[in-house]
Amino acid sequence: MKMKYLKNLLYVSSISVVIGLGAYGYACADDYWSYASTSSFTPEAFVDKSYKPMFFAPYERFYNNSYISNNDMFDQTVIEEWKVYLGNSVSEQALNYYLLNKVDQHVNASYTTTNVVEDRSADFPLKLNNPKVKKFVQFLDLAKKIEPYTTSSFNYWSYEDHISSLVPDSLVQLAENEYLKTTSKDKFFYSRMWFQVLKAKFYSNNRHSVISYFEETSSKLERNILYYRGLSYVAGAYYQRGNYIMANALYAEAYDKAPQLRQVSTYNFRPMDEENIEKVLSVTSDVGVKCAVWAMNGFYLDEFKSMKAIYALDPGSPHLDYLLTRWVNKLEQKLNIPSESRFSSKEAYYEEIKTNIDQEVYAWIKSVSSDNKRLHNPVMWKLAVAYIDIFQGDYGQASIYLEEANGLATASNKLLKDQIRLFEIINKVSQVKDVNAKIEAELLADLTWLFAKSNKHSYDDPFRFDYASNWVKRFISTIYLENYNPIMAEIVQSEGPSFYSDLKLSNQMEAYLKKTDRSAFEQLFVNDYKYNLSDIYESRSIYLFYQDDLDAAIEEMKKAVPVKGSTYEGNGSYQSSILLGNPFNGKIKDCNDCDHTAKQSVKYTKLSFLEKMKEMKDKVERGEDIYNNALLIGNAFYNTTHFGNARVFYTNSILNEYGGNSILSVNKPLLLSMKLAKKYYDIANSAATTDEQKAKLAYFSAKLERNEFYVEKYHNSDYYMGAWYNDVMFKKWKGFKVLKEKYNNTKFYKEVINECEYFERYARMY
């Protein structure tokens, strides 16, 4: 192939592109995406593997990032072919050694010196009394002389090897002479030597000379892979001259006749407008090649237009099937939107998908699909129609097409059978209006099969069931909700905090999960449900805590016992999770890290923390040391907000909070609210007797006011952006004013001046 300049085309300026993703890669490294994330139509089930690199890939040039490895793409073929030719006279190891070893100078010495080759001390001695082996050596002798000019480099770490030089004229001449010496009787050897001439010419000073040489000599050759590789050199020579019409016509021939060359031909093909494509088509009278022209143009431009053209030329062309996989995969990419929540309603879902289907294409595919006899793979066409019918809500017709597909598919083709079953499931589920015993019975086996696929998925299995599997859950959850069954709706497709913040639903879920008599259908979903009872109790305790209902919070937390092997991001320790700092601290400066590293005589767990708070609250209610107890409770409520040192308290898999800066909107009213801290600081304030005590509370009230301002200003979007260096960080808080005007003679005032720069600046300014 035309390696040298392909190499340049493939090269992507590194600093400018690759690193572009750097800033974001960090944040979304966990996201998993595969073709099955938006697709249920597995192209591997329908067309042969030579088309695979050109399957539709929304974000890559070639499917699975298939890389065109110019240097070694034919290595295996070459070995195989020589093996057949030489029989047992040369071992496969020796073939590998002589044919593929591109670096070792020793190899060079071995095959050029006949004596050395026969020398027993050589790694792989060759017996020259066998005429075929002798030819092998003759071939190596020539090929290894040309190779340094044609492969992109020998020793990667040698700069000299990267400096490309052209095959000298004398070597081209030598190749031609050697080829002339061979006779066409030994077809294999004849082809190989001929190919060396083309190769030498292509990488010589006169690249264009391959064109005439090919025209003069090619008629005597077998139409094997070497022939089409040679033809591709000719195409490359035309391409370099800017004659894209001829280049495209020849690449199309290689594409059509040599499946191994499909990807590289597609890569080299230049997509063209209609006027030019007509010119390309007029170069050949071969229908297969014409179809290939359309197949490659369709890869780049318009699959539908190309399909129509191919169908008119040859309805049985496999290129036609391949384009249909691309068209369907593209359609799915538009219609199937991956999501982790249920649909707003099933009607809304139907509406959304219907509007995006091109009816002209649909009608055409449907009419073609009846051409059973002539199509190369009629099963796929039936399935394509059925799939679109499902999207359009025509389930009855979809059933008919699915049945026809099933009748045409051979039972041994497991992937194809799986594919049909998947569409049958989608079709059935789409028609569900309510989940009753009958529906459960109808779907149980199918869904068990489908979910089992997800649980033991092998990456080698191309079958695309991911999207369908998620979609089924989202859809059935929607149906449950529309039929007033929020519990099953949650189990099938969890909404997490928005469900559990409703304590009534939380209790109903607990009762349901404790039940043992449920249908096998329900059990299928319960098995996959992501929360356990400890998650639920813990979440409930947290919700109750933020309602200042400590008694109930303690009761729930007591039930949140540690779970072994929990998926909980902490360690599954629930009530015994240890708070990192002292949650009763009330400092001038909020510094979580300082509080976490500070020495603590008592370490609180979630549960012991709640119990300690309760003890203090009881004292406040009994009127014992109200100031101190209320102050400490106020601190505890402060520390269990986002601004405090006890974020561990609200880590919970249902709330889906782990102490980060970005807080889910649904949790914001709990985790960002200063209301409870304020309530207890106010109680402490009304019990305060000394100026020192009052000074402290004035300052704490300023902290609350500040946090409320930060919440409003910097936590107002879904993603936490933080403040910018010239954004407002403090204002004239009321607490500052009181502290300065009334309590500037206190010790606490002086401490604040020393520790809090904002207050110090305020005190200077006003």
Partner: protein, 335 residues
Amino acid sequence: MKYLSLLIVIFVVLGCTDHNKNQQLKLSYYYWRTSYALDSVERKSLQDLSIDKMYMRYFDVVLKNHAAVPLSPIMFKERVDSTMALVPVVFIKNEVFLDSFVHPKKLASQVADFIIQINIKQNLKISEVQFDCDWSLSTKERFFAFVEEIKKNQPWKVSATIRLHQVKYADKTGIPKVDNGVLMYYNMGSIAADSLNSIYDRKIARQYISYLKDYSLPLNYALPIYSWLIHIREGHVVRLISRVRKEDINRNESFKLIEENRYLVAKEGEYFGQYFKQGDQVKVEQVTAQQLIEMKEDLIESSGSCPEEIILYDLNSKNIESYENEVFEELTICQ
């Protein structure tokens, strides 16, 4: 007396300003093509701006069958002016350090040797090298070991490119032990069909550069003067075409402006060497002169100091011609 007043003036200047502000910054270029040959515009720009330092991409290091190999080393079509201080830059794909078969120490000697081979072939002398690698949490140790090995065995000053996220998450991503870093102040978004500018977005930049003050490695800044066209079909990026600017599109009647920086292809055809379908869209990303100044000011403001050097990415007549010389001169002033 004359000397005394001069001393006073100096004292006053030093006394009332931040000592590292009000400097003249050095301006240099990145050269990022695979073969070296300058055209008259590029040559003139080097002269006009008195640029005497160039960071040249020497080669990339990529992974092939579990081995690190150099890719597309620079080829010289002409000699580099001997007065030009040349800094070879080696881009190492992160995947190289992800592979456990690659030994950082061995790679360091291979890379150093390859740089030396190029220098010998071209008779070039260098005193600094730069490594460009978007290292991640899982590769930082191996990349750092690589860099340290080079420093240990070679007489060169070593610098490294630094990405914005590496500044923000420095405590996690770590800081390589190099003599200085170059903050790449571009590539702020992904190349996408959306309306954002992936080259530069001040809002995104702001999420990162407040961390500059705490970054312990001295940084120079690389600023983008490049542009590209993003070819979009049905909401998906088809390809990038480098060095196309708005002016080029505006001259072509087949493109209709639909939004700022965004055009609709009204007529199918081949433009900029590629086929465009009717209905395709293109997005042109480039940075204005005003934004370049804004970048410099934001960086100085948030880091609180002047860098020694600003490096423009990249030296190419197509890029240079879109800016007045005065803009680049303005970049060299730090106040």
